[in-house]
Symmetry: C3
Subunit: 331 residues, 3 copies
């Protein structure tokens, strides 16, 4: 199939084929990243603007290095010190980014839906790098790439997602990406942090809610621990961080009871000793660093597909020419 | 003519020929920006430092993307977190930037005149990206480029500039750039926000002060609305933002009374609903986004002229070679 | 000799030969920086991450421009707005940087020893860009390069270092770099700001403590004035800044009594009128700007040696091919 989309806002309405196409392209990008010179000229002279209205380090750097590996020019805009602070509307900000030459706007925003608002109003491509509680599609795709690397075909595989589901754009995007690939999702977390409809039997297709973490982990082929925002405790949604760990943490003891080879993922940054023990985060089951590396490849794939939409994926693979060896003189 | 200047501090003392030369060069840069690969190797291996001691997003990004389109290396220094905060003098900061390799220092500073102080003390070229109330020459040049694109020759054309003239480096630089090109400027704004001498009949050559906005707009060939700093109200210079809009705003009603085709400009970021209505800002008369795009081209032109001073403009145009196509391997 | 190290954490345990190798490589880099196109493709497609958990402008820009002159890709992470603020451990942050593709992590941190902790736990190379009071090895190397440029062979040369020795990673790294090259160091500064063991006769080999600045300057072949952190006064370690200048400042009068040609250095940013007079800082003895330029060359040398470790230095010099001239089309 050919890539048809102009934006990446959520994988909620994506077909399995679209997801597969991105994963295939990301796999090609992993090969680029394994070269001595991690760079291809594919997007030379193209401009990618990273608009992070909400703080982020790893996602911003991941997109930045992905864009640079494709030889694109990048410019970063954060909320602080920007015209956003001077009262400019979001609409005007993004129209300005486009008029400055941005062909792709990577955008993180605290407001759910903000990237949709933007995408309808610009001719540039928009990639949602996380919008409020809503979606974080590149996280879903990188988790899918990571799980496929570990488990192969995800059909029938059981993936436990544990933690604060209610406020988690990661959980939503994991569901929207893994279920079309055939995975079944078992959710677990404090009842105050689960959407009430899901708790009461109306979870999405392919998703079940388990009352305790042991039932979710039982028979799991993979486990995703979610970051606990410590603000949840202040908001009265949690008794204490210590109790959270006891009830829902992916502790060393719980990890030891998983079947051999069952991997553990976490979107980062981790609160070690709360939602995940350090021994698990850095133990043999951990795929946390693989997720980070795969994230660069997935973002390269999406930047590339958006920038070259119209040509078929197969032909495009030929374009990933290696950069010239560094000791030669470009002439 | 040949470009002779080492710095761009203000267009106040520029000849018409110098302004024309930059506009001609900027027009060539617009062609570079229209290429599939928006990049020319003209400034490869040259270093442009963006020193923004006062916050800015759009101007910083515009210079940054201009420099990158010319393949220059860039580094950004802002006041916060910098040695400026550690008590270093401005002189030492810029001498350091030069010793680090900066060939061109793009500088925004809250103090009027700061770029002049710097320019006298470094061998690097200095571009003023806005100094206090004094000057913002690249804004004047991009407004000139935009108006010429819309109106052709500016000789005898009437340009209304409406708003807080007193504190506006944009108004000053527009006057200093548009008048040499033959335009006549009609100013309007609250009497508290107009230099008193200008109000009392001693406006610069080519400039008239009109007591109300309707008289300024009457017969205008173009309108420039200025950003209203909301601090002006706190300082007692304004009754209320609502009254400001009523008296001086470029409202939908006022815009409707302009002759067909008369364009409206704004330097951004806009306070929509105060100095300009959203319907005007995004309506058919608006050239706001064209200004942003032209700003990149004007800054490319200036960076290029400063970096290659000595060669004539005509020869230099040949140097704007396209970058290699992205699918080929540089060898 | 061949470069063998994977990290640059301190020069404390370096041999004279290693220091010489870096200085020789840096001298080659100065030639690159003197070219019309200050860029070599040596590190194209390699990723250098600048992790500045403590604020810095000049050191960050120096490393950034060094990396860009070698054509490396860079990404900057500062403590504010980063996952460091979100409670992530230092270990997780640097593992993430490595998983993102960082081959070299340049790191400034307020905690002495932090880069050692990191270096033991990553496969990437780590360069210490200043850790607490402990070490700032690239400053020691750039000071050595600067002093050798001014004085030739440092064997038997007397270098006075004046100021707050106790809290100075610069003083420590200067000692650890200059003494192996044969220099003798004379320290002077307020007794409250000298390590007590050093004051009492147990200074390191090659280092003497002088009770007053005049004795330190007497017979000096070069003088290094250290930055005075103004917080020291608040902490009660200093009477007043005025008294500090009188007792320990490199004033115009003191500089006039130095032998002709004796140079004065300062790591910057300077508090002019406190530890150094403006007339000295910008007078004929000053090598302050030379230090800045040499800093870029030293950092290029280290980035290059770390990135290409395994090949001999002599062969590597051939790799510093000039970039293509800017007017030609890479094809």
């Amino acid at each position: 199939m050919r890539w048809q989309r102009r934006h990446v806002l959520s994988t909620e309405d994506w077909s399995r084929e679209e997801i597969e196409l991105v994963l295939e392209q990301a796999t090609a990008m992993l090969e680029v990243l394994a070269r001595p010179i991690r760079r291809t000229p594919a997007l030379r002279g193209r401009t990618v603007v990273l608009f992070f209205a909400e703080a982020s380090t790893r996602t911003r750097m991941s997109f930045e290095l992905a864009a640079k590996s494709l030889s694109a020019d990048t410019s970063i805009i954060t909320a602080s010190g920007s015209s956003v602070e001077k009262g400019e509307t979001l609409y005007d900000t993004v129209r300005t980014l486009q008029a400055l030459g941005a062909e792709i706007i990577v955008m993180r925003h605290a407001a759910s839906g903000a990237p949709y608002f933007v995408a309808e109003r610009v001719s540039a491509s928009v990639i949602n790098a996380g919008d409020g509680w809503h979606a974080h599609p590149t996280q879903g795709l990188l988790d899918a790439l990571t799980l496929r690397g570990a488990l192969g075909d995800l059909a029938g595989k059981r993936v436990a997602i544990v933690g604060d589901i209610l406020h988690s754009r990661v959980a939503r995007s994991d569901i929207h990406t893994l279920v079309p690939l055939g995975a079944r999702i078992a959710l677990a977390g404090p009842p105050t942090l689960i959407p009430s409809a899901w708790r009461e039997g109306s979870a999405p297709d392919g998703v079940t809610y388990e009352r305790d973490v042991e039932r979710a982990l039982d028979g799991a082929d993979a486990v995703i621990a979610l970051r606990l925002q410590k603000e949840r405790q202040e908001a009265g949604l949690l008794a204490s961080l210590r109790e959270y760990r006891t009830a829902w943490g992916i502790t060393e003891e719980r990890a030891a009871r998983l079947r051999p080879g069952v991997p553990v993922l976490h979107p980062g940054p981790m609160n070690e000793g709360i939602e995940i023990d350090a021994a698990v985060a850095h133990g043999p089951r951990s795929l946390v660093e693989r997720q980070v590396t795969n994230g660069v490849a997935v973002r390269m794939a999406l930047l590339y597909l958006l920038a070259t939409a119209g040509a078929g994926a197969a032909e495009r693979l030929d374009e990933l020419a290696p950069a010239a060896p560094p000791t030669e003189v470009p002439a």
